[in-house]
Symmetry: C2
C-alpha cells in the first residue's frame, strides 16, 4: 500500500536504512507533547480495560471545544475512520471533489460497498494554478447546479496549503443546501492557523444538516502513530445509522487518553502556533529565492512547490529531484500523482528552523548542479 | 452501544462509581506484561511516525508463529476488525452460526453493506444444553448439506468454554469444502489452552482455501484497551480485495509494538498457562459445590453457569443475581441475550485465586439468602 507517498517503512526496507529527514509527512516538529508522555507512562494500566465504547469523556471534551452537542461528535481511528464512515453512511453516487487534494477521499467514496453494485460518478473541480490554487467560488457554484450528492473539500487544502474562511465555506454550504448536496469538509490541518477553529464552518449559523466535518489530532499534536481523529455532523436522523456502521472500540485507550490530555496543553498549542506562523513565512520566502522553483503561499505546515520551466527544460523532474534529495537523507513528497498536478510538483513539510535551513541548502545545491 | 455486556463505563456513569471487580470481561489477571510496560515507556517517540501501513515486522512475526506465509496474515484493530473485514470481503448471503456464541459475528454479517440491498439469511446451529454444549458434529454435517455460504464457529466457544481439537475442526472443514462453504473460526481464546495453538485448524493439512481464522492479543496479554488482533486466510485470490477493503493504519504504533514484544515474553506466557490450568479446574469444582447453580466445564478463562430450577422456582433470575452482585461491587455477565440461552444463564471470568474466592463466597451468600 502506498498512502500519501509517506511510506517511509518501504523506503527503509528497500534502502536498508533506518534514519531519514522526513519532509513527506506533515507532523509538528515539537513532537509528542510532554504532558502526553507523562500521562501515558503513568497510566499504562488502563490498557487492561476495554475502551469506553461510547467514548463519552472524549466526545464531551470535543463537543465543548466545538460548541456542539456530544451527539454531533463521532470519534475515529484517525480522521480516516470518520471519512470512511461518513461515506458508508451517505453512500453518494455522484460526487464532486475539489482537486488537487488528498487521495483518500476518492478511496473512501469507492470503498462503500455499493460501489460494486451501483456506478459511482466522481467529478473533479479544478483548483487552477493560474489562480494560485485559490478556489473560484463563482465557478464552483455554477458546477453545483449539476446536483451532486456530495461535494468534498479539504480545508486547509492538502497539498496546496490554501484556506477558505467561514464567509467562503458558508457561501458554499448555502449553495449545497439549495440542491440538498451534502458538503464534506476535511479540516485535518485547521489548528495550524491562528484563527483556524474560529473560522471553521462548524461555527456557521446556516442550516448544517448537510454538513460533515472531520478533524485530526495526528498532525498538530505530532501523534500520527496513535490514530485519533473525529467527525462532526448535524443530521440527527443519521445518529442510529452511524452507530450501526461504526466498528466497536476503533480508538484505543491510549489514543482516547491522548485526546483528553493534549487539548488542555495550552503551552504546547501556543508554542506551535508561534512557530508555524513564523516558519511558514520564512519557508515561502526562502524557497522562492531559489532559482528554478516556485513555492505557493501556504497557510499551514506544508508547502507546495513547482519546478519551473527553466529547470524542467533541462530535464529536471520531481522524480529525479526526489532521488537526489534521498541520496542526501531527505524525503520529499512527489506530488505528481495528485489530480491536475504533474511531474513538476512536490510538497514539503515545514519543520524546525535548523531542518528547514538544511532542506533549503540541499535544494539550492541540487538545482545549481544543473544550472 | 452495549457490546459483550461489558460496558463498565456505562455502569460507572449510572452508579457514579469508579471501581468494580469486573468478572464480565475475560482478561488475564496478570495484567499488562512488564516487558510491554517497559517497551512503551521507553519508546513513546514512535508515535511521531505513521504506523507501517503494511505492518511487515508484526506480520512476519505472526506468520512465523503460525507457520504460514506473511501474505496469509492481516492485522487489525482487535480481532473485531478482521471479523468485519472478512465479512465485507466474503459478502455471505446464507450464514450458519454455531450458537450460543459471541454476538459480534451476527453484527459483522449484517454490516456488510449489501445487507441493505440483498436479503441475508442467518441460521443458528444449536449447541444443546443436554449435550453440555458440546458440538454434535454428525448433526452439523447434516445441516451443512443446505449449502451455506459461510459457517461461523467460535473455538474455544464464548460463552460455553468448549474447545474443538484439530481432528474435529478438520472434519468440519472437509465437509465445508464439499459444498464450497467458507468456514470462519474465531480463536480469540485459543492461547489459554496449553495445546491450543498446536490444535488450531491453521495447522491442518486439508485444503484451507475456504478457511478464515481470527486471533486476539486482547485477552491473553490483558490489553483489551490496546486493540490488536489478526486474521489468517489462505485464498490467494482475496489478497487484493482484502487490501482494498482495509482502512489504512487501523493498528496504532503502540499496538503494533505490543504485538512484536509480548509474543517473546515466554515467562508471562508460561505463568499464565500455569495459572489458568489450575484455576479453571478450581472454579469449576468450587462453583459446583454451591447449591442452586450448575457450572459447565470450561477449557478457558471464563465459565458458563446456570441457575438451577430449585433457585429459579424461588424467582431467582440472572438479572436479580447480577443486581445483587453489583451491590457488592462485582460485575458478572448476564448471558440471557445469547441465542438459545435464557434468564438462567450467566458467564464469569476466571481471575486470580483471591478474587475467585471472593466471588464464590458472595455467590454462595446471595443464593443462601433465598434458600
Amino acid at each position: 500500500m502506498d498512502f500519501h507517498g509517506g511510506n517511509i517503512y518501504r523506503i527503509f526496507r528497500e534502502k536498508n536504512i533506518t534514519e531519514i529527514l522526513d519532509y513527506s509527512s506533515n507532523i509538528n516538529p515539537y513532537g509528542v507533547p510532554e504532558s502526553l508522555r507523562r500521562k501515558i507512562t503513568e497510566n499504562i494500566g488502563i490498557l487492561e480495560r476495554y475502551p469506553d465504547p461510547d467514548y463519552v469523556e472524549l466526545r464531551e471534551k470535543l463537543a465543548k471545544l466545538n460548541n456542539v452537542d456530544i451527539s454531533n461528535i463521532t470519534v475515529g481511528n484517525g480522521a480516516t475512520e470518520s471519512i470512511f464512515l461518513f461515506m458508508k453512511v451517505l453512500k453518494p453516487e455522484k460526487v464532486l471533489i475539489v482537486s488537487p487534494t488528498f487521495g483518500e477521499y476518492e478511496r473512501a467514496v469507492k470503498a462503500w460497498d455499493g460501489s460494486e453494485i451501483r456506478k459511482i460518478e466522481i467529478e473533479y473541480f479544478e483548483l487552477e494554478e493560474k489562480d494560485e490554487f485559490l478556489l473560484n467560488i463563482r465557478k464552483l457554484k455554477k458546477e453545483l447546479k449539476k446536483k451532486y450528492d456530495l461535494l468534498i473539500i479539504c480545508n486547509p487544502n492538502n497539498p496546496t496549503g490554501k484556506f477558505l474562511k467561514m464567509a467562503e465555506t458558508e457561501e458554499i454550504l448555502r449553495e449545497c443546501n439549495k440542491y440538498d448536496t451534502k458538503l464534506f469538509i476535511d479540516e485535518a490541518f485547521i489548528e495550524f492557523l491562528e484563527d483556524g477553529l474560529k473560522e471553521s464552518i462548524v461555527n456557521s449559523e446556516e442550516n448544517k444538516k448537510n454538513l460533515f466535518v472531520t478533524r485530526a489530532f495526528t498532525k498538530f499534536f505530532a501523534i500520527p502513530g496513535l490514530r485519533l481523529g473525529y467527525g462532526i455532523y448535524f443530521d440527527k436522523n443519521l445518529e442510529k445509522k452511524i452507530a450501526e456502521k461504526k466498528e466497536p472500540w476503533s480508538v484505543n485507550n491510549i489514543a482516547e487518553m491522548a485526546g483528553i490530555t493534549v487539548l488542555d496543553d495550552v503551552e504546547y498549542i501556543e508554542k506551535t502556533l508561534k512557530w508555524i506562523t513564523k516558519e511558514k513565512k520564512y519557508m515561502y520566502e526562502k524557497l522562492n529565492e531559489i532559482l528554478g522553483i516556485k513555492a505557493y503561499k501556504t497557510e499551514v505546515n506544508f508547502i507546495c512547490v513547482k519546478i519551473k520551466d527553466e529547470q524542467a527544460s533541462k530535464g529536471m523532474t520531481v522524480k529525479k529531484l526526489k532521488g537526489k534529495m534521498l541520496e542526501r537523507g531527505i524525503l520529499i513528497r512527489d506530488a505528481s500523482n495528485f489530480k491536475f498536478l504533474d511531474e513538476r510538483f512536490f510538497r514539503m513539510a515545514i519543520k524546525d528552523r535548523r531542518s528547514n535551513d538544511r532542506i533549503i541548502r540541499v535544494l539550492k545545491e541540487i538545482l545549481a548542479e544543473r544550472g
